[in-house]
Amino acid sequence: MTDPILDVRNLSTHFFTDDGEVKAVRGVSFHVQPGETVGIVGESGCGKSVTAMSVLGLVQRPGKVVNGEIMFKGRDLLKLNKEELRNIRGRDIAMIFQDPLSSMNPVLRVGYQIEEAMHAHNKIADAQIDARTIDLLKQVRVSDPERRVKDYPHQFSGGMRQRAMIAMGLSNKPDLLIADEPTTALDVTVQAQILELLRDLNEQTGAAIVLITHNLGVVAGLCKRVIVMYAGEIVEEGTVEQIFESPQHPYTWSLLRSVPRIDASRRARLLSIEGLPPDLIDLPAGCKFNPRCPFRIERCFSEAPLIEQVAPMQLAACWVTMEKAYAEMGAGDITDTSPGAASGVHPKGRQVLPEAEVTATVAESVGD
């Protein structure tokens, strides 16, 4: 295995607000290989974007990276000074944002903005910049690029603006492209085009792509590997097949059951995940998913599970991994996903069951 291009180790980013310390990202570790496509999924507020911002050193007050290492090509980005970091942003690591309209300066021409990204770093020779701008727009399939470079962002359609943003991101031939919800603001047909474009560009340029999204369908279409985040932590990681076919964390399982599938039987109901993500200031003890988990057991309330290998290439952080849940609780047939339903730990509180009975349930379901 080659050395990873990005290796994030034990990253924690907190926001020091007046209400308290918001622990937005806690102990996140993952790596990206050169040329790889990795998806980071999770619901809103789970720390996906904050993770990306931390990598680029763009976390602003009151936020602060409080712990960890971000190794990029052998250098710890957290130890670089401002100027060194600025030199990496946009040159070695580029970022694409969710809303292409608000991420372009409305009063500057599109071509000028793409050129500007190249002028900021001296990677592309000045003499080539004009021609490269047009080439880039061609590469991202904007028609009539010679004329289009003189347009303002509002004269572009939503999809074209995102293409222009991608062109801007690729302009300095980065090794890593972080795309933060690149298709969320676009309509469905345009989404598909943008994903196809990203896939092609990944093959052509060899730039690794980290795709941040809450849309599992988008991940399936582009990524080889998937990282699932919940409440600021990575709860599961694996290849796209593993995540979709044998999810090993109840959150991943619940997430998949909440997505409509064209091949599912008509009667299969879409299940929402009950409850809300935890308050990141005052986190529950034990597993952070325990208030919403249908499979929770007694241990989930007291001890937080560490992320461990559950299969080749696959990691999960759960005391009751789904494989065991499938075998022992019949997860495949579960229609009641209310908290604690499957394992008998009552939603209203553990005291409802007599203590002896609870212990017995735990012993049965977990084994050792």
Binding site: N87, R89, G90, F97, S103, A120, H154
Partner: protein
């Protein structure tokens, strides 16, 4: 699917509307300005005044500084001297033309100085926030606290007399409004997503300040700069009236008025001309400024 599609649609639509307002600003604004008759009349008058000032560089009926031989002092309007002559027998029309020149130079020059100071200070305060902003804001408030005329007089006496120094002295009394305006603009624009995107693409702070934030706040800045001009002209006239302004024999509307005041019972014309010129010019600049503000203020857009 429908529940997903709807918000996306709204978002796009809302985004599109905002952008159009942003970019069409200039053309839109000038169209609105053209419909404002008062502002248009003011603009025409100011253009004429400019022409007079430019002509005065090359030609005036007489040399404005020369005491003409065989000429009566305090002469009323007459064939040889349409506006009359002053207390020393100098041609008033020539002196008024030179005064227009001085007024416009002081007005525009001060506006330019204020623009430079205000934009730089405001951008830095608004963009870097924190202790930088605190220091600058305290500084701005101190300047607001001291009477402007006092600052101008003291500073002008310290700097020494001269056209450049009078502009600096007046700037010291009016730069705070511009700095505050730009600071507020920078405060809000820095939070917009394209600034984050620029930062993510490795743009330097200077580039973000002057390449991204400044072009997006140009409208209100220009309006504010227009309002500085009449204030500067008035302050210069006031200083000259007190005898602290433009060194003689250079003529300023303020100094002509001052000389005319002494002869008011004898010859009211000498006081009348600069008073009319000042009033109309100040009015014109204010009308133009109001027109520009109405035309470029996004809150009043229909």
């Amino acid at each position: 699917m429908a529940t997903i599609a709807t918000p996306v649609f709204e978002q796009e639509y809302a985004g599109g509307t905002v952008a159009r307002a942003q970019v069409g600003l200039w053309r839109d604004g000038f169209r609105r300005l053209r419909r404002n008759r008062l502002a248009l009349a003011a603009l025409v008058y100011l253009i004429l005044l400019f022409l007079v000032a430019i002509v005065a560089i090359f030609w005036t009926p007489y040399n404005p500084a020369t005491i003409l031989p065989n000429t009566l002092t305090y002469l009323g309007p007459s064939a040889g001297h349409p506006l009359g002559t002053d207390d020393l027998g100098r041609d008033l029309l020539s002196r008024m033309m030179q005064g227009a020149q001085i007024s416009l130079i002081v007005g525009l020059g001060t506006s330019l100085v204020v623009l430079t100071i205000g934009v730089v200070v405001g951008l830095i305060a608004g963009y870097f926030r924190g202790w930088v902003d605190t220091v600058i804001s305290v500084f701005i408030n101190i300047f607001y606290g001291i009477p402007g005329i006092l600052v101008a007089i003291v500073l002008y006496l310290v700097l020494g007399r001269g056209l450049g120094n009078i502009m600096l002295a007046i700037s010291a009394t009016v730069w705070m409004d511009m700095a505050r305006l730009v600071r507020g603009q920078a405060f809000s624009i820095r939070e917009r997503e394209f600034i984050e995107a620029a930062r993510a693409s490795g743009a330097k702070s200077g580039k973000i300040l002057f390449g991204h934030i400044l072009p997006n706040s140009l409208g209100p800045i220009i309006v504010q700069a227009t309002f500085v001009i009449p204030i500067a002209i008035l302050t210069e006239a006031f200083l000259s009236y007190l005898g602290l302004g433009i060194p003689s024999p250079l003529a300023s509307w303020g100094s002509i008025a001052s000389e005319g005041y002494a002869a008011l019972p004898l010859e009211p014309y000498m006081m009348l001309w600069p008073a009319i010129a000042l009033s109309v010019t100040l009015l014109a600049f204010n009308f133009l400024g109001d027109g520009l503000r109405d035309a470029f203020d996004p809150r009043q857009r229909r």
